[in-house]
Point group: C2
Chain length 480, copies 2
């Protein structure tokens, strides 16, 4: 039984319904499945393999910078969550509560961790005594739970996978340097490995993490012009240290409060990859995290010598260090093409009897569907070049989309007109720093503040909303 | 400020109080910490690094055998847990229940997964259609929760980390082969990598996993003569498939129920390592999973050239592929010796001015404290030999302990006398197969059935309890 090519290609066009296109890819590329657990998702092998590749790259970078992995409990007692006032106010409305163990009611409710600052702080209070114990650079890979009302695969689900770094430092300076360093790790990973251009900046005060002094973020633009917050890094000052009574003796034996950071990225990044690079034929994966980097598809597979030649080529590609798969199933080449396009495999290699005779193969790069005829004995060198080209090309395409959809505006009317003409976009406009104006911009134009970029641009002297002197240039947009 | 050697060595002797010795090591070797979350533990960097090494080795083996990783939701709706009758009866009394999301009461309680058979089955019902979809070989690394009354670090805690493999096969034969294959992977890992000898066998019917047709296990003997169940592998038949309506069309287009397995090992293995290999100076780690395999300790560190020579040696050892640490802190060599003995580092290398002059270093193997003088230019070759020697020596030591404490008994009186004379031991004795006798042996002698070993030995013709014809030889012991 040969499968039909149309069968796998049958997804909604992104121009018709972007949201439907997105969930179609999640399902048809075998990334996720739904279950009877409302708001949670099953991450299927192909989706999870992307996450494993992300983990490997980031975990290596974290460790190179001196971070160590730990594991904290899944639960937080209600009284512990309440120790830092801003923090509990931010999270209490959206946590899942465990009230019973077996048939017994618990003496105190436990929430399923929405984030673990409180647990890390309790532990730090136990183990930090002296300046010799600092810095503490801990990270944890785990799942967290936030009881969201509306959910979407990868982008917003009641449970998601992430890493949360939690560090303690002797001085504010050191802690602030860590906060920025980890934001840079995230930005670098997005740009170099995921081929997603990002804007680095600070959240406005109203948008900071619950309990943080400063929240930095990276913001990416999706294909539809909307913004995705792709990673955050927080500087906490010594607020939690005071609430949890964490003190260290400095070199002169004086007791001091350490300074704290936390930073995290989540499975949401997979959503970012889909919405940055995907197209109407499916997923497009950056080589660094693709579970299969090269798929080898034989043509006229049952002719003598063809399968053997394809196997030999696959072995060579594997030996060169690539994640490669030979598809020697009975499905037609056309069906296979569609299948691996849907799955976003960066490179397809086709090898048939005539190619073998000519000592060549055909190489197709997924992101631009460009065909190259390659001499068989040059395959390793060409693949190495192509992988760099693919990453660069994908990055450039995404950057062009963002630049085409980024506009400088000096008035609310200009913002409204720009959005009416160009659809969802990034708006760069000046802001006075008042929450009232921030809210008003959103209310009147629809775009909210995404971040105060580190790289500022002078657009005008005055706030786009109230006309008073401007403090910052802000990126505004519609967020996922 | 130099630390005192006694400070780190101060743990209870195992002969005085084995349980206290165990928890002392957990704390003093920096493996765990407690938190305000009762019954849960914090796995600290040194403990978590052991787990990461375990994961790496096992995950590679699972994948070589064709398994793929997935991620299932943390929660199971009550109605889903109830679909398989035996399963819910086994687990419902010990699950944690989530009843509220934020301030709202949930329409249906969710339990925090104690194991994920039900979630996997629900998913398999969605994705298995034809014989072409089989086998499905899925695995997941995650944490699970069981509301235990009494808890001990690694051995029994309300939350623990594990992997759970869940597979579906077209035939009983294939599923049974998978069950045994994975038990063998666990046994092999314990014996070769953890240097822990294990007995492979089947659980008696009363001790099977909730819902399983057969449960296989590996049982290890701890230093104190007690038994640790170190890994289990279950064959389910098609019971869950029927309960969850999972059917596939075979090659003749007939609908059939697939056959299922599950298998798991947990952070409990770290407890097994401690109690198999540890001594009164602390932890003793097998090289395969030790976070630090070699520690380099300079002698007379501040003399000219010593630190440089130690650094060069450390680099050589690292280049040879070992996880190595140079301790160049101001602590005294004596303090360092005690510290890394407590942490169970397999090999210590000492290098001082006289060694440098003689072109040699001193190598001390933790498990037997044997000293070897090694020529510096032979360090790589000697380390390679030593690592094998250490694993073999640790295995042999553990095996001798088990053999010394294993006795064949032909009557209940003989069991009682043996235990009275030798303390906690493994008893090999015949059994008729009746649960009544199994219970009676435990009640009258204190030892419960651990497993029916694959490798049977004929001790007598009749059941040790009732005197009727015997069906199996059983290992009896006191379990952790």
């Amino acid at each position: 039984m040969k499968n039909d090519k149309k069968l796998v290609q049958d997804i909604t066009s992104m121009d018709v319904d972007f949201a439907k296109w997105y969930t179609d890819i999640c399902k048809k590329a075998d990334l996720i499945d739904y279950s009877s657990v409302k708001g949670c998702m099953i991450i299927r092998p192909y989706g999870y393999a992307i996450w494993e590749n992300i983990q490997k790259i980031l975990d290596t970078r974290f460790k190179e910078l001196g971070h160590e992995n730990v594991y904290m409990p899944l639960f937080i007692p209600e009284s512990l969550l309440q120790k830092e006032k801003d923090h509990v106010e931010g999270f209490a409305p959206e946590v899942a509560w465990v009230t019973h163990g077996g048939s017994e009611e618990l003496p105190e409710r436990l929430c399923v961790r929405p984030t673990s600052e409180t647990l890390f702080c309790e532990h730090y209070a136990n183990i930090i005594r002296s300046w010799r114990d600092l810095p503490k650079l801990y990270n944890q890979w785990c799942s967290v739970v936030r009881w969201e009302k509306t959910t979407r695969p990868f982008l917003r689900s009641r449970e998601f996978l992430w890493q949360e770094g939690h560090t303690m430092h002797a001085t504010e300076e050191e802690a602030r340097a860590e906060t920025v360093q980890m934001l840079n790790v995230y930005a670098d990973f997005h740009e170099k490995d995921l081929a997603i251009p990002v804007i680095k900046g600070a959240k406005t005060p109203s948008d900071k993490f619950a309990g943080a002094e400063d929240t930095y973020c990276i913001e990416a633009m999706m294909h539809d012009g909307k913004a995705l917050q792709a990673g955050t890094s927080h500087y906490f000052g010594d607020g939690f240290a005071r609430a949890f009574d964490i003190q260290y003796a400095d070199q002169t034996n004086q007791l001091r409060y350490p300074h704290q950071t936390s930073w995290g990225v989540t499975t949401r990044m997979i959503g970012g990859i889909i919405m940055t690079h995907g197209d109407d034929n499916g997923l497009v994966l950056p080589p660094a995290v693709a579970p299969i980097q090269v798929v080898v598809v034989p043509a006229a597979m049952h002719k003598e010598g063809v399968l053997e030649a394809n196997r030999a080529l696959t072995d060579r590609i594997r030996a060169a260090g690539y994640r490669v798969k030979l598809d020697d199933t009975d499905n037609s080449p056309g069906w296979k093409f569609a299948e691996y396009e849907m799955k976003g495999v960066p490179v397809r290699v086709e090898l048939g009897p005539r190619d073998i005779e000519a000592g060549q193969c055909v190489l197709v790069t997924r992101y631009n569907m460009e065909k190259t005829v390659v001499k068989l004995d040059e395959i390793e060198a060409v693949l190495a070049e192509k992988m760099t080209e693919i990453r660069d090309g994908m990055y450039q395409k995404a950057l062009e989309n963002r630049e085409r959809r980024t506009f400088d505006c000096a008035s609310l009317d200009e913002i409204k007109e720009t959005l009416a003409e160009h659809g969802d976009s990034f708006i760069r406009a000046m802001w006075c720093g008042e929450e009232e104006c921030e809210d008003k911009v959103k209310e009147l134009t629809g775009v909210g503040s995404r971040c105060i970029p580190f790289e500022q641009k002078h657009i005008s002297d005055v706030c786009v909303c109230c006309g008073k002197p401007a403090k910052h240039m802000v990126y505004w947009g519609i967020a996922y």
